[in-house]
Structure formats: structure tokens, C-alpha cells
């Protein structure tokens, strides 16, 4: 018998022995005559229905979790990594600007040696007043860019519903401590004034216990940002530009605008910082790879070795190399090819960390993938992205088994 069959049999037995069938007429009579244990509750419910007050709003609430966001991208969260998702994050410290209009909570987090993923939710303290849009959106953008509402811009939607537009943003604040070079954010509206934000970043800090500071920002933006160009033309609401040309708005203070310079009228930014600790519960297996052959046009770049770290969540390849060139002249990136020489970057690659410089003059770059087995051999292709050409390849072979 399967678990499901056992479970059903058990609860079927329970229902058979314990349940007394509901008599519908009696139920209706109880409700209408306001008798029985539930008459107070039933009466209150009826009143709530008649006057249209709360208690009957059973519309399914939307909530976008980590797996909802990753499904929309090429990211894969393997089944055994799902259990690593932390859904009970307790804030240890919270600080915010005065008179903030928002609340923020960290909903889910997932970390391993090489990456950190967080979902946090920003909601309005006073409901029914604001329309939250992403931090880089403008009122003329379509609502469908971040919500399920189609065929209308944020401005049109806000005007139709009497809402004030607010740009919501944020991300991880203590990036240096975590060894984060850059992060990506995705916004998804869970309601007019509720925004779920997914933050993903590669990190080099592989401590098992990490303190993370997450920031949410809110900026009231009830008009188009004003952009003034050097020719005096502008985009957006012209009324906001009145007086700007004669003000100290421009760089040199004489009312003119520096060539190429753009500025926008921005309201005060409200912030909320949440500090919390994440425990890395992932396990790491490391394989070392050495160079068995190379095919390079010159000796400008030399790969020394590579280390492959594999967790439940991802595969991270640390390429250790050196170069005869000055740091400023290095415009290279590494592409990983499988043992047959086929490019595997596009299918699974999450992101690269960028070049890190060590004290002894050597360098390394981390290339991150969804979890995958690198096998006994693979190739590292050295690519010059300024000249847009391949400089050569290194063939790597595993020194020890996983």
C-alpha cells in the first residue's frame, strides 16, 4: 500500500467513526433562527455581508515565493535544494526612516557557498491609497511588466483607482561583507500596494552563518520624471520644468545643462533596513582540475588550475590564472565547454563573478551554473570581449573524484 492509500484509509476510518452527517435543514434553521452555539458568529457574519464590511473577502491572495520567481527564468532549484529554503526568517534588527509609508518583511531565503537568493515583500501601511511600481519603472510603463494586469499603463491604472504611484526598490546592502559584486532584482506585484521582490546574487563569502542586511525603499512619484536635455527640450510633465533652467539644477549653476547630463525631480526616499542571519545548510563537494593541454595564440594568459564546487543548488568553477598584461588591459572572460568542446554556458550559466585579484598577483574568476556534473574533463575557453574573439582553450582534467 502506498503512503497515500494508507493515509486515506486512516482518515476514511476516522470520518466513518466520528462524523455525524450535517442536516442541511437543521443548519439553515440554526442560522436563520439564530440558535445554537454559532448564532452569534452567524449573526455577525450576516451583518458583515449586509453592510459589506470585512470578513467575507476570500479572494485568493497572491504571494510570489522563490520557486515562483525561479520558474520564470532559466534557474533550476533541484528538489533536494528546496528543503534548504528558509521560510522562517526572524529579523534581528530593523531601522527605518521616519514617516515611512511601507512595511517590509523577508519571506524566503536560499543560500549555499556561491549564491544567495532572497524574496522580500514590501506592503503599504495604509491600504488602498498607493500603487507600487518597481524602482526603475515610470508611470507610462505597462502594468503587465510586473503584474497580471494587462492593457493599461501604471498612470492609467492609478488614475482610474485614485491611487498615488510609489516606486519600490532595494536589495542587499552589505554587499562588500558578503563578497557580492552585483545583484539582480525581479519585481512582481502581489496587489496594488504589495510588491514581492526577488534578489539573486553570486557571493564569495562562504561562511556558514551570514549576517544579511536587506533594504526596501519607497519613493512617491506622482508625476513623470522630468528629464532636461542640453537643447532645452524635455520629456515628461513640462510643468515640473518651470523654473528649473534658472535654478541651480545644472552642474555649473548658471542655469545651463551640461552636455549629456540628465537629472530628474525626485521625492524623498523612504528606507527600511532589516538585518537577519542566514545559515548555510548546504553541503559542498570539491573537485580539483589541472591543465592537461592548452591551445593559445600567445602566453598573455595562463590558467593554473580550477576548482569545481558542487552544492545541492549549483556548480561553481573557480578558475585560477595569471597574466603578463596590466590589469587595465584585461578584457577577458572564461567560457566553459564540455568534454566534446560544446559551449554549455548558454543553457545553464547563471553568472560570472568578475575577476578577483589576489595579493600574490594571481587572479581568479568564479563561473556559476545550475547544479550539474562537470565530468572528468572540460575545456575553458578564453574570450576577449573587447576584440570579440577567442584567444584559445585550456583542457582540464579532474585530479580527484567527487
Amino acid at each position: 500500500m502506498t503512503n497515500r492509500e494508507k493515509y486515506k484509509k486512516t482518515f476514511d476510518s476516522l470520518v466513518s467513526s466520528e462524523y455525524i452527517a450535517l442536516e442541511v435543514d437543521e443548519m439553515k434553521k440554526k442560522h436563520e433562527n439564530k440558535r445554537g452555539r454559532n448564532n452569534v458568529a452567524a449573526a455577525a457574519l450576516l451583518i458583515a455581508v449586509l453592510v459589506g464590511t470585512g470578513g467575507m473577502a476570500y479572494a485568493a491572495s497572491k504571494y510570489y515565493g522563490l520557486l515562483d520567481f525561479t520558474k520564470q527564468r532559466t534557474e533550476q532549484i533541484p528538489e533536494d535544494a528546496v528543503e534548504l529554503i528558509d521560510t522562517e526568517i526572524v529579523p534581528e534588527k530593523v531601522d527605518e526612516t521616519e514617516n515611512s509609508i511601507m512595511d517590509c518583511s523577508v519571506k524566503e531565503a536560499l543560500i549555499d557557498s556561491g549564491t544567495i537568493r532572497i524574496v522580500y515583500e514590501v506592503s503599504a501601511l495604509e491600504q488602498g491609497k498607493y500603487l507600487f511600481i518597481p524602482e526603475d519603472a515610470v508611470p507610462s510603463d505597462n502594468m503587465s511588466d510586473w503584474s497580471d494586469i494587462k492593457g493599461v499603463t501604471a498612470r492609467e491604472y492609478a488614475d482610474a483607482n485614485g491611487l498615488e504611484i510609489v516606486n519600490i526598490g532595494g536589495g542587499i546592502t552589505n554587499m562588500d561583507e558578503l563578497g557580492i559584486a552585483g545583484e539582480s532584482l525581479i519585481f512582481k506585484s502581489a496587489g496594488d500596494d504589495v510588491m514581492d521582490i526577488y534578489v539573486k546574487a553570486g557571493k564569495s563569502n562562504s561562511s556558514k552563518s551570514l549576517e544579511v542586511v536587506c533594504t526596501a525603499t519607497a519613493r512617491i512619484s506622482d508625476q513623470e520624471d522630468a528629464i532636461v536635455y542640453t537643447d532645452g527640450s524635455s520629456e515628461g510633465d513640462d510643468s515640473i520644468n518651470d523654473g528649473i533652467k534658472d535654478s541651480d539644477y545644472a552642474g555649473d549653476g548658471d542655469g545651463s545643462v551640461e552636455e549629456g547630463e540628465m537629472k530628474a525631480a525626485m521625492a524623498e526616499v523612504m528606507r527600511k533596513n532589516i538585518t537577519f542571519t542566514l545559515q548555510d545548510m548546504s553541503s559542498v563537494k570539491t573537485s580539483d582540475y589541472s591543465v592537461v593541454s592548452k591551445d593559445m595564440e600567445d602566453d598573455a594568459y595562463n590558467i593554473e588550475d580550477a576548482a569545481v564546487l558542487q552544492t545541492e543548488l549549483g556548480t561553481y568553477i573557480d578558475v585560477h590564472f595569471n597574466s603578463t598584461l596590466e590589469n587595465d588591459d584585461m578584457f577577458i572572460s572564461f567560457h566553459i565547454l564540455d568534454e566534446k568542446g560544446n559551449d554549455i554556458d548558454d543553457a545553464n550559466n547563471i553568472c560570472g563573478s568578475g575577476i578577483e585579484f589576489n595579493d600574490d598577483g594571481s587572479m581568479q574568476e568564479r563561473i556559476m551554473f545550475n547544479r550539474m556534473d562537470m565530468g572528468e574533463r572540460f575545456f575553458i575557453e578564453v574570450y576577449n570581449y573587447e576584440e570579440e574573439r577567442v584567444l584559445g582553450t585550456f583542457e582540464m582534467e579532474r585530479k580527484n573524484k567527487l
Partner: protein, 161 residues
């Protein structure tokens, strides 16, 4: 669309009772939760897309009502989350069913609800997330942890899923 409450009672009352019992842990509160659920449907003007929509709505209301009962002042001050004394332990055909029931009722409420909707109501992760108003990842985490706890308690009696 709407269906007559009599039809819904006939169709779903046992399912709602099972779900409510899995939360409350006693027949009396579970029956009250079921009755409250149908009263809410009866007095509601809500329109539904199809039968599945109604079923999900009923389950959601029943689950919420049962959770409310668990949190009531009286319950908090007279017993823990699940009290065998209050429950008047039901009678099962065999020891295996009794062990499984005890193991399920020993789970924390939030894992118990997900386990029940998955195994008894045959709901998929997506459906469970909508009924409970939580993310799919949260459902998966609770399901995974609930299963692990059942395995720890029941050992070979609970197969690896």
C-alpha cells in the same frame, strides 16, 4: 456559478470534516468548522468559476475556521495544540492506522495541513499554495519536512515518497 448548498454538503462534508479534524484534533470542533463553512457559503454571494473553485474555497474556509478554533482563548488556556484527552481518541481498525493517525496529529499544525491536503485531497503543490495563501516553495518545504517527521516516527511503515 453557484451550486445549492445541499448538493455541496452531500459532496464535500466528509472531506471538510477530515481536513478540519486534522487541524483541530477533535470531532466536535471539526463539526463546528464544517457547519460554519457551509453557513458562510450559504450567506455568501460569491460566484465561482467551476466545481474545483468551489471545492478549493470550501477547503480554505474550513482550514481557516479550524485554525481559528485552535487559537481560541479557551483552547489556548485549557490544552495544547492537540490533546489526546480532548480528542477522545478515535477507534481504528488496526494498529497501523492508529499509529499513522497519532504520527500525523503529532506534526506541527502547519505541516499537518499540507500533508493532509496532499495525501487525502490529492491536491497538487500549486493548488495547496492557493488554498493556504502561501508560496509553492513554502508548500514544498512544509511537505518535505512533514514527510521527514512522519518517516522518523513511523520508520518502515512510512515509505520514501
Amino acid at each position: 456559478m453557484r451550486k445549492p448548498v445541499e448538493w455541496l454538503v452531500n459532496e464535500y462534508q466528509k472531506n471538510l470534516f477530515a481536513a478540519s479534524y486534522a487541524i483541530c484534533g477533535n470531532a466536535e470542533d471539526a463539526r463546528d468548522a464544517v457547519q460554519d463553512t457551509f453557513i458562510r457559503y450559504y450567506t455568501s454571494k460569491k460566484e465561482f468559476n467551476d466545481d474545483e473553485h468551489i471545492r478549493a474555497w470550501l477547503l480554505r474556509v474550513a482550514v481557516n475556521r479550524a485554525k481559528d478554533m485552535n487559537r481560541s482563548f479557551w483552547r489556548r488556556n485549557t490544552c495544547g495544540e492537540y490533546s489526546e484527552e480532548l480528542a477522545n481518541t478515535p477507534v481504528f481498525e488496526n494498529e497501523e492506522e492508529s499509529d499513522l493517525f497519532d504520527a500525523v496529529m503529532a506534526l506541527p499544525e502547519k505541516y499537518r495541513i499540507v500533508i493532509h491536503l496532499f495525501y487525502y485531497e490529492d491536491m497538487e503543490i500549486k493548488e495547496i499554495s492557493k488554498v493556504l495563501g502561501i508560496s509553492e516553495s513554502n508548500v514544498k518545504v512544509r511537505l518535505s519536512r512533514g514527510r521527514r517527521m512522519l518517516k522518523d516516527r513511523l520508520k518502515e511503515e512510512w515509505l520514501d515518497d
